[in-house]
């Protein structure tokens, strides 16, 4: 089985110039954790996930300060939350994105997801245009199908 057989072809994507607040609402509405970011030519320029928003809201040094408990929300967090509308997706998105292609095999795409800790991979063509998206769920569904219909 190949990626083109399991991927979703209707890809919902966002633009680098979109506001983070709008995209946050979109993520919540669609109940997904991340979306690909594409430019005017539909080429992939990044990946924007809920993790990017959370790491923006918390102080950047948070992973270096060790163990403690926030008993209150710091003022800086409130300021950052209020400013989400003024921040563009391009400022927070991850620019180095792991991708896959339509002809990649099921096990290979599963391997890429596992080794890169990726939940979903954009599927791109040779020119870098996004032609689909494949999520962990799609891979699992394909595996489940193979259990039902072993060749």
């Amino acid at each position: 089985m190949k990626v083109k057989e399991i991927m979703k072809k209707e890809v919902i994507s966002v633009r680098p110039t979109d506001s983070v607040l709008d995209v946050l609402n979109l993520l919540l509405k669609m109940e997904i954790s991340g979306l690909p970011v594409i430019d005017e030519e539909a080429k992939l320029v990044g990946m924007f996930t809920e993790k990017d928003i959370i790491s923006h809201i918390l102080p950047s040094y948070i992973q270096n300060v060790g163990r403690f408990i926030y008993e209150e929300n710091p003022k800086a967090t409130k300021i950052k939350l209020a400013g989400l509308n003024n921040i563009k997706v391009s400022q927070l998105m991850r620019k180095e994105v792991i991708t896959t292609t339509e002809d990649t095999t099921l096990c290979e795409v599963a391997r890429i997801m596992l080794t890169n800790k990726a939940r979903r991979l954009p599927v791109v063509d040779k020119s870098g245009k996004v032609v689909g998206i494949v999520a962990r769920g799609d891979v699992l569904k394909a595996f489940a199908k193979e259990i039902e219909n072993p060749r």
Binding site: P59, Y61, V65, G66, R67, F68, E71, P74, K75, A76
Partner: protein
């Protein structure tokens, strides 16, 4: 990028040809050129510094400028292992919540006033930098400063500059504050006690001088903070903003760290008592403690070694030390030492001035470890000229630490703190915003050290 590379190669090659012309051997010229590449590499291509020293040291070996045995000897494994041990311990303390507890301590200062804030962040910055490395300590101080400045709605930049300067000054107070401290201690035979009795008081004096200068320099900022504090009232939210779980882990970790510091502090006496080689206890104590930690926390032992130990930096240090060793091995530093002593007319006071000011100015631009690594063999070479080396070691230590205050890229603590400022507050430091206050504090504190080293018989 290409232009910088051409400049780097041009200067290094030019320097090599020049010293060859004035009578040095090919090996000496090559050792100088390659060291020059590494130094300029840290200046122009910071992210490539490790590749530069890998390549350079390999060339030194292939061309027989230095042999393998001496590369290993000069790489100073003792210093590296000490730093590995300390990094593991700091990783443990971090995880146990020790540093968050320090941040909480600052946030909980009762009846905070602008002056109280200024003095406490300066003293805590300096003392924390004495106990752990300056890069770790600055992150926590900056975290505390941001919380307080956010709460009172003032610009954190001046306070960040002040805390970084206090951190750089503080890092000269003990062997633990700065990698150059342990490097100097291991090469000079100076003990922890020497640092506490000779360097620590001068460090406190410099800190006091810095406080006076910044108090005047930032008087308007302080008045603004004072006004905001009165307007917004007592910092109830800050007091309970963060807490550290009072767990057994924190107590045990503090115990281990305390015992380590205790033995490090007494290392010289214990070495005499047990007939051990100088610095044996100083260098092995962090290893003993971190070894015990890795048994206690065996599930995380690999994380401590892989995540908390900065191998990138340590490998760079090792090979840089080896390259500086090649300067000594080929006799370059002997020539340099002879000429410097000649220039100073064999006057120790004059020589102290040269070492102090060259290392101050040098470390304002270069990484202080690079500078100190180059200077150590020169100072060792003064020994053959029958000069008293002790004041020169102190001059090197203070120059290397205090020079870091002069420019915004003067020390790693500056770079780390300014990186956080830019990321968190979107405030980009400009060269001159830092430079004028940095230069004032840097020069005045160096003058204080100069006066102490040349006038007090204590240091002779």
């Amino acid at each position: 990028m290409f232009k910088k590379f051409i400049i780097l190669i041009g200067i290094s090659l030019g320097l090599g040809i020049l010293v060859k012309q004035i009578g040095m051997t090919s090996h000496q010229a090559l050792a100088i050129s390659i060291f020059c590449v590494s130094v300029l590499g840290t200046l122009f291509f910071w992210n490539f510094r490790l590749s530069f020293v890998f390549l350079g040291t390999s060339i030194l070996l292939i061309t027989r400028t230095i042999d393998l045995e001496n590369v290993i000897k000069f790489a100073s494994l003792d210093v590296i292992l000490f730093l590995v041990g300390m990094m593991v311990l700091v990783g443990l303390m971090k995880e146990a919540g020790f540093f968050a507890w320090i941040v909480g301590l600052i946030l909980r200062i009762r009846n905070l006033t602008a002056n109280k804030f200024l003095i406490s962040i300066s003293i805590i910055s300096a003392l924390l930098a004495c106990a752990v490395d300056e890069v770790t300590s600055i992150i926590f101080i900056v975290a505390a400063i941001f919380e307080i400045c956010d709460y009172f709605e003032v610009d954190p930049t001046p306070f960040l500059i002040i805390s970084v300067m206090a951190t750089n000054i503080g890092s000269s107070g003990t062997v633990l504050g700065n990698p150059i401290g342990i490097l100097i201690a291991s090469k000079s035979g100076l003990t922890f006690e020497d640092f506490i009795t000779k360097a620590f008081p001068v460090m406190l004096l410099c800190l006091a001088v810095m406080l006076v200068i910044v108090r005047l320099w930032y008087r308007k900022t302080l008045a603004g903070l004072e006004h905001k504090m009165k307007e917004l009232g007592y910092n109830e939210i800050l007091v309970k903003l963060i807490s550290v779980p009072p767990e057994k882990n924190l107590k045990i970790s503090l115990g281990i760290f305390g015992v380590t510091l205790f033995f490090i502090a007494l290392h010289h006496r214990l070495e005499l008592l047990w007939g051990l080689e100088p610095n044996t206890i100083l260098l092995t104590m962090p290893l003993l403690s971190s070894g015990a930690v890795m048994i206690w926390k065996w599930r995380k032992a690999r994380d401590y070694i892989e995540k908390d130990v900065e191998w990138w930096t340590l490998l760079f240090f090792m090979l840089l030390f080896a390259q500086a060793g090649a300067l000594k091995y080929t006799g370059v530093t002997d020539v340099l030492a002879k000429n410097l002593a000649g220039l100073a007319g064999n006057s120790l006071s004059f020589l102290i001035g040269i070492v102090l000011w060259v290392s101050t100015i040098g470390s304002s631009i270069l990484d202080n470890v690079v500078l100190v690594a180059a200077f150590i063999p020169v100072i060792q070479s003064f020994q053959s000229l029958n000069l008293n080396l002790r004041p020169l070691w102190w001059a090197l230590l203070f120059g290397g630490c205090l020079g870091g205050n002069i420019t915004m890229v003067g020390s790693t603590a500056n770079i780390v703190a300014l990186g956080i400022l830019e990321k968190e507050k979107n405030i980009r430091m400009t060269f001159f915003r830092w430079f004028w206050i940095g230069l004032t504090v840097g020069v005045v504190t160096t003058v204080v050290v100069w006066a102490a080293l040349t006038n007090l018989p204590f240091y002779k």
